[in-house]
């Protein structure tokens, strides 16, 4: 690609302060990776709380984890892996100039994300009915440990915050579908798809850790 001093011809998307399309793309990717670093530290705080309380009350975690449905957790994990796949396929479609493919793959991703949220809804409502509510509202008697409310508080904080991130991801992908429909993306310019994909993969990675830590305690 010519790197002479000409103003980029086909690159309307190149913003004024960037030299060329590639600098802009790499800058956007770097920016998103830095944002992901902040997300890792953000969730990291919650993981610290989890680890500290697990080191203090290991029996609590074993007892309380029995009430979490492994199958629903595993299905959710698979659903999210699938959604990561479809988002990667969407990016590939953008790289190969296949706009319909972007839209289809993103829609499947959104659908899978919604399946995830629906399963979470069922999980949560089942718990609420038993009286397993966060914090001071906890009333369930079935776990023989006085600190059971703390396990579930951490559970709700972590999975809840994760769920919020899933919803934000759904919103972002809906926006991408709208833009793809308008023909904004091509092999020349698909930066928003790429960086939203990065965000979504991190949401997946966080769940990959949440699943064994909450659902698979012996």
């Amino acid at each position: 690609m010519s790197q002479s001093s000409a103003i980029p011809k086909k690159g309307d998307h190149v913003q004024e302060h960037f030299v060329n399309s590639n600098q802009q793309f790499e800058a956007a990717k770097l920016g998103m990776w830095i944002f992901l670093v902040t997300e890792i530290l953000f969730f990291g705080g919650l993981f610290v709380a989890y680890i500290v309380y697990r080191s203090w009350y290991p029996e609590l975690y074993i007892l309380a984890s029995d009430h979490l449905d492994v199958w629903l957790g595993a299905i959710n994990t698979t659903v999210l892996i699938g959604s990561s796949l479809t988002v990667a396929l969407a990016i590939r479609c953008a790289q190969t100039n296949y706009t319909r493919g972007i839209i289809i793959n993103l829609c499947v991703t959104i659908a899978l994300a919604c399946v995830f949220m629906v399963i979470k809804y069922f999980e949560y409502s089942e718990k609420f009915e038993l009286g397993i509510l966060p914090g001071a509202h906890y009333t369930y008697e079935g776990i023989a440990h006085e600190k059971a409310n703390i396990f579930y508080s951490i559970y709700y904080m972590m999975t809840g915050l994760h769920g919020v991130h899933v919803i934000v991801g759904i919103g972002l992908m809906v926006w991408l579908v709208i833009r793809a429909n308008k023909g904004h993306f091509s092999s020349e310019y698909y930066t928003p798809v790429e960086i939203t994909g990065l965000y979504w993969h991190l949401v997946d990675i966080i769940w990959i850790f949440l699943f064994p830590l909450f659902y698979l305690i012996d």
Partner: protein
């Protein structure tokens, strides 16, 4: 940088681009009107908006301080009730830390100067930059609402279980305001890191990066790594209040010390966010006003990164008496001693820069000399309270208060004001009155020491901090301290008056009144909207005073954005221009 498909060096035709002392069009008149300011993506205008906001908050925080000090003139209640006193010191702390110090240099001066020093047209994400500003404003609004609908009296540190259960007022609103503000800090840091990595001018390798940018880079790294932990801490605190989550409240099985771990994991690196940009300013000003290459460039550059890293390891020194294990106490005390080393390295390097330099005692330089003196005192006393055995006695006394005011105010605020004066001609195109500048600096220095030196003494004699009442024996110290506070207030008012006056009636500045070699001075007096009409080409470091000025004003001779291959670029001849210094 640009796509480097080629590894072979390319020759670039460069020419000299002299800065214009009297530009007709510049960033302030190229787009006009209130709407253009509110929707601007120009980093310079965004920097100015931040500058206005932080000045406003400094005023509010300062008034809080004066209220506190006035109340403390006499031991018993004078005109402020005890609960109100608690609210006032909480506000003073929260406003000064979150709304003034953290954004001051990075967001205000940094936003303005960073792209100019890099030679690029704007930061990497200008719209995100504007969003950062609006997030700051929204956070500020929530905090102001919190103040007016009940106030907060927990101290700026929001310790549990008081803040999560009993504290009245609007803890949630204020923590929410600070939570939002955190995103402003994160996004600014993100923007700066990407800009410094990806948008340097041809020839501007890491070894030629001005130390101000090294400092902003280190600060941005801290902002990006530490602020999310503050965010989660405040979120957990809010959930604790709302839902009674119970991880911090001992009544329902939680651990209040855990809150302190979470809180200080951010807040200790936060103090480095506050001071490291100041270090960058000191490096710039010391070199310019000694007309000498900075001594130990790499030592200063890398020590900023070292401070950034070690600063993350020491947070527990705020918790020596909180009830953490003695093993942690030992470890934190030891690590805290380590963090003083890179800072000490900087101070020695600055002093060595002064040695045999051609020192020009202009106002910015006076502030920086004050900085070195006052920050050294602050830093030393920090090491003193880092000693575990000493801190047992000094924790929560006025000694700690004096320590952090010496580093934050004697250090950071001095550096900030020095930087403001240094870059004032570039920002406004005007020169302020040098006489009044020196008078105000002297008054500020005297007032500052009068305020805080007595606090060291009373702290070591046992006067506790955050106390509304005190024993008779401390009254003289308190009174001296209050006199100092009012002296400082007068100095700040004087500064404000002559700075504002200079905007309207000041002498016009040239493009480079200090004769600096740094890139931001090689641009017109009031920079153009897009900073550079040419692509600057860097062939020297920013402190090479032995090289003629012409070599710092080179740019690619073709128009538009032709970037070369960076480090391998060879210097083509510039047009014959008379050499000047």
């Amino acid at each position: 940088m640009a796509t480097a498909d080629t590894n072979t060096p390319r020759r670039l035709q460069v020419q000299r681009f002299r800065p214009d002392d009297n530009p007709k069009k510049h960033y302030l008149n190229e787009e006009t009107g209130l709407w253009s300011w509110l929707t601007t993506v120009d980093h310079k205008k965004i920097g100015l908006m931040y500058l206005g906001s932080i000045t406003l908050f400094f005023l509010v925080g300062g008034i809080m301080a004066l209220l506190l000090r006035t109340e403390l003139l006499s031991p018993a209640e004078s005109f402020v009730a005890a609960d109100t006193y608690n609210q006032i010191f909480t506000l003073h702390g929260a406003i000064m830390v979150f709304f003034f110090l953290v954004p001051s240099v990075p967001a205000a001066l940094g936003n303005f100067i960073l792209p100019l020093q890099l030679g690029c047209k704007d930061v990497a994400f200008p719209r995100l930059n504007l969003l950062s500003y609006y997030i700051y404003v929204i956070g500020a609004i929530f905090t102001l609402i919190a103040i007016f609908t009940g106030g907060v009296d927990t101290g700026w540190t929001f310790y549990t279980p008081y803040s999560s259960t009993a504290a009245g007022g609007n803890v949630m609103m204020m923590t929410f305001g600070v939570f939002i503000l955190g995103f402003s800090s994160i996004l600014t840091g993100l923007n700066f890191i990407v800009t410094i990595h990806r948008m340097r001018s041809p020839g501007l390798g890491w070894n030629r990066l001005p130390l101000f940018l090294w400092a902003l880079y280190a600060t941005s790294v801290i902002q990006v790594l530490a602020t999310p932990v503050l965010a989660i801490t405040l979120l957990l605190l809010t959930m604790e209040r709302l839902l009674g989550i119970g991880i911090f409240d001992p009544n329902i099985g939680g651990d209040p010390v855990l809150f302190q771990h979470f809180f200080w994991f951010y807040s200790h690196p936060a103090v480095y966010i506050m001071i490291v940009p100041g270090f960058g300013i000191v490096s710039e000003i010391i070199s310019t006003f000694s007309r000498k290459h900075i001594f130990g460039y790499w030592a200063i550059a890398l020590s900023s990164l070292a401070i950034a890293f070690i600063g993350f390891l020491v947070w527990g020194h705020h918790m020596f008496v909180a009830g953490q294990s003695s093993l942690s106490n030992l470890v934190f005390s030891f690590l805290t001693f380590l963090v003083g080393i890179p800072t000490g390295i900087k101070i020695f390097n600055w002093l060595a820069t002064l040695h045999k330099g051609s020192i020009d005692l202009k106002t910015p330089m006076l502030y920086i000399l004050a900085f070195i003196f006052l920050f050294t005192i602050g830093g030393f006393t920090g090491i003193m309270v880092a000693a575990l055995s000493v801190d047992i006695h000094l924790h929560d006394t006025y000694y700690v208060v004096a320590h952090f005011h010496y580093v934050m105010m004697g250090g950071m605020v001095m550096a900030f004001i020095g930087g403001l004066h240094y870059w004032w001609p570039k920002i406004t195109g005007k020169l302020y009155s040098e006489v009044w500048g020196r008078i105000a600096c002297t008054l500020l220095f005297i007032g500052f020491n009068l305020t805080f030196l007595p606090q060291f003494i009373m702290g070591s004699l046992g006067m506790p901090r955050r106390y509304f009442n005190y024993l008779e024996q401390f009254q003289t110290y308190h009174q001296l301290s209050t006199m100092g506070a009012y002296t400082m207030a007068i100095a700040f008012v004087i500064i404000a008056i002559y700075l504002v006056h200079s905007i309207f009636k000041g002498k016009n500045a040239t493009a480079n009144p200090w004769g600096s070699r740094a890139l931001e001075w090689q641009v017109n007096t009031l920079p153009p909207l897009h900073n550079f009409h040419h692509t600057p080409v860097i062939i020297n470091g920013p402190y090479d005073y032995h090289k003629p000025m012409a070599e710092f004003q080179l740019g690619i001779a073709e128009t538009h954005n032709g970037h070369g291959s960076g480090e391998h670029m060879e210097d083509a001849t510039s047009r014959s221009a008379p050499a000047d210094s």
